[in-house]
Symmetry: C2
Subunit: 146 residues, 2 copies
């Protein structure tokens, strides 16, 4: 079910879309406060590392290990291998995922590493990604290394 | 054995050290040409995503999938989960690692995903990391999420 943090992740995805970018957004939350939020910056900044999740981590800035280990990551799309690795590196215990219908990331690896994975399969997230992938398949493929 | 690309990865690590940063450097190479080189930017830019490997990817810019799939990543230290995930995302087929004595990353996952992993255990890399970890253990722990 949606909460305010997940709504903000969707809002970030919409900002990306308005900027001409790839509509994926994420929010990193510690004890009901947003540490950082972000969205995919491939088009806007020519970045190959700033996926939505990575941008949220980056905007949260340098945090102590014990903060990460009590934080939740909200993200509109199933995390790719890079973002999965980052979640594992920083020991994020829980990830709430908007949908995994248009792209299934490394959710099994997250679970194997002990991360709690919640998949909402939110209709708005699915519709937004389907539309983008349909309109700009080459950009999407580039973002996931295909 | 060292080659010019690996020497440049070490050079990048030394630049990081001179900047007051964490001495890890990386170079992404396609058909004997450097696409991008970089070093850890945690201290210099307050970045939690720009490990040496990530900075090399970022500086290489947006590349086609077929370019990544024929590229080699040289890096002074065994790749953490984040950098491992990025190598997997972009389908890099071969990684040359300076050393895995001071930190053992996700080399098994790389091999499981079909990546060729070469570990040099270069003495200069080991000495450089040992010295840094000994002098600044807190910074080092922060970089690997401890």
């Amino acid at each position: 079910m949606r909460n305010l943090f997940f709504e903000e992740a969707i809002n970030q995805a919409k900002i990306a879309l308005q900027e001409g970018g790839i509509p994926i957004g994420s929010v990193l939350v510690y004890k009901n406060k947003i540490l950082g939020k972000g969205h995919n910056k491939r088009i806007q900044e020519g970045s190959v590392v700033l996926h939505g999740e990575m941008d949220a981590f980056e905007n949260a800035g340098r945090q102590k290990a014990n903060i990460y280990k009590e934080s939740i990551l909200y993200t509109t799309l199933s995390p790719c291998p890079m973002c999965t690795g980052t979640i594992i590196l920083y020991g994020i215990p829980k990830v709430v995922i908007g949908e995994n219908k248009t792209f299934l990331g490394e959710e099994d690896l997250l679970r194997f590493k002990g991360v709690e994975v919640v998949v909402l399969n939110d209709k708005e997230c699915i519709t937004m990604m389907k539309k983008f992938i349909n309109e700009k398949p080459q950009l999407w493929n580039e973002d996931i290394g295909i």
